[in-house]
Subunit: 210 residues, 2 copies
Amino acid sequence: MAESIPTVKQRRRRYREEIIEDILRIAREMMRKEGVAALSFNAIARELGMRPPSLYHYFDSKNAIYDELFRRGFLEFGRRMNERPHQDGPLRKNLQSVIETYMGFAQENPDLYQLMFQRPVPEFVPSEASMAESLRLLAAAQTQFADTLRSQELAINIPFAEALDLVIAFQHGLTELHLANNPELPVGEGRFGKLIPLAVQMILDAWQKS
Amino acid sequence: MAESIPTVKQRRRRYREEIIEDILRIAREMMRKEGVAALSFNAIARELGMRPPSLYHYFDSKNAIYDELFRRGFLEFGRRMNERPHQDGPLRKNLQSVIETYMGFAQENPDLYQLMFQRPVPEFVPSEASMAESLRLLAAAQTQFADTLRSQELAINIPFAEALDLVIAFQHGLTELHLANNPELPVGEGRFGKLIPLAVQMILDAWQKS
DNA sequence: GTCTATAACGCGATAGAC
DNA sequence: GTCTATCGCGTTATAGAC
């Protein structure tokens, strides 16, 4: 089993990756505690027992850390959207699971959510690659749901794209206000978190109106 | 007319107030150009031809500047809400004017809007006084609209508070997405700005559903 | 090459003495 | 109103250790 003993190169690689994970974990902790914009490159180094310049061997800049978290945020978001329940179920449950998944992601990952959907750090602009990936994932989630809608015999009395945008705006507003008012409460509870079923009902009524 | 000649004290006072207005004007320019969080105390001083420490004669800190803009933002917001059209008109027009006024304020004062309704500067916490004033103005605007609703013979089939919160979430979502996607376009235009009439229709349908 | 360190630069907010 | 000074920030250059 000589193959199972890692080479020096592999050890180094693993060690490096562990440090990178540590950096990202510490960064997320700080963002959740002090706010996304209050992330300090120097403070991460201190937390790791390093001098700030040494951190540059793992990330080229503070914005590179933001960028990696931005990228991973959309990966996780896409994963959750793909795995959400009721994707082939009745429209009401399907729609409700879309909104609950969106809000659930925001509630459990407020740091990533802010980075992805708000713009709390003006000087941080996602890299081309991360931006492209995020748009791809968002479009995929949207297309998947749109296809489901089309496959049903819905008599929607407004243009399709606008019907979807209304859902997006509604879910975004509910989520932002839930985070602002009851950040600690899970989806389904709190002043705005509990409104999801009502919102779903409103949307369905509007769509299916004769 | 000796009274019309300002005393030295009055002159100084007016001079001081002019400088304060200049500071706030420059601050708003910078926030709009570089982002709310990127406001620089030093840069304001430079713009005024002052040394940074001199600015402390007008504002105790950078956050004091934020706080004054926060306070004025809610004053202006309250003023616009009080002066909006169709306050005694038919429900549809009344509701539409609420949403348009909200979005219009955000579109014309994105710097103030971010300071007031988003939280782009984690270390800035509004002072007690400003916060109390803002809550008072928000509650007033809300109560006024709620009273109008009550005075109409509406058969709303969900609790009153929740019906209002749905409106708030919807208007907030539409506004955020409008600012994110078409910040330069006025209310009524753009991907999300043009959805207001549809949203109003959705809300009315939901409320008046038998 | 990979990782760490020290030193230093230019910037920011802010405090105190004049 | 100023100048001086302190502190923290992100960042770079550079040099030594593995």
